[in-house]
Symmetry: C2
Amino acid sequence: MENPRELFQIMTRRFGLLNKYCCSVGGCDISLAQSHLLYEIDRRHKPSMQEVAEALGTEVTTFSRQVQSLIQMNLVKKTPDPNDRRVYTLSLTAEGKMIAGMIDQQMNDYLDEVFSYMTEFEKETVLRSVKLFNEAMGKSSRCSAPVTG
Amino acid sequence: MENPRELFQIMTRRFGLLNKYCCSVGGCDISLAQSHLLYEIDRRHKPSMQEVAEALGTEVTTFSRQVQSLIQMNLVKKTPDPNDRRVYTLSLTAEGKMIAGMIDQQMNDYLDEVFSYMTEFEKETVLRSVKLFNEAMGKSSRCSAPVTG
DNA sequence: ACATATAATTGCAAATTGCAAGTTATAGTT
DNA sequence: AACTATAACTTGCAATTTGCAATTATATGT
């Protein structure tokens, strides 16, 4: 377990499984992809379709259909952009916000439990580390997909 | 960006995109799922199908077919377990090992680049943090899928 | 006005998945 | 030894998801 990639790979997978698990929370059952979609729309301000698709690393064409199904489920709203009518901006409905909030809550509850196995100092160190790492990734040239954060 | 989940979510997504990107490395083109499969078989000792499927959070039935295609590509080998003939143990072929190795190399190269934006001390802190976090996740009851590490 | 570029959608074929049922092998019971 | 239950893995089939090429509608530049 000296290999840096190994460390991140394991963490990432576990976290991914948790995300999957949190999809069936509070009576609602959505797919992992849908959960990511809700998350990403939630944290941006009226993003365009392309913006979100790119952030998620999804083909726009696939994304378009994913959005359609979330609209049908009444979790997402699509509004034509008055400045450029080719563009649609996305936002969550009240119900969508609720679901996204519940998932977020559940995830943080889980993280809290994980942190309970550490000292407060360790927890702070871990959080600062992740933040630092995210910033460094942002500076790197290789990772083309623009994940703002 | 105070939200712990947010920090991990962003990191995880970026890392996931990188993984995806590293699939088309060295002339070989495999899917993300296949890459995960190679990775997981590589780091275990002659695992059974179930063991790997479970670690990856994939249905065995889906997994079975994924393995089949990797066998066809001559990257994976499936051997009947002499002790229990219901079981098949998985391993990588020479070619599979090579591909897995190249992906791993590429990932670590990328991580090196990311770490180049930090001091040596910060890098060590980050790596220790991830390790610590993985251990804590391992202790936690909630994450049912057994990702050994 | 015209050509070009951009944001999003659609059609269609191919790949991926999930469930139920099937196969083969082990384990436990009488 | 015959009988039942369970476990590991596979297969059939229907449904969902995807990727590519083509299409629509709007915007921009000359």
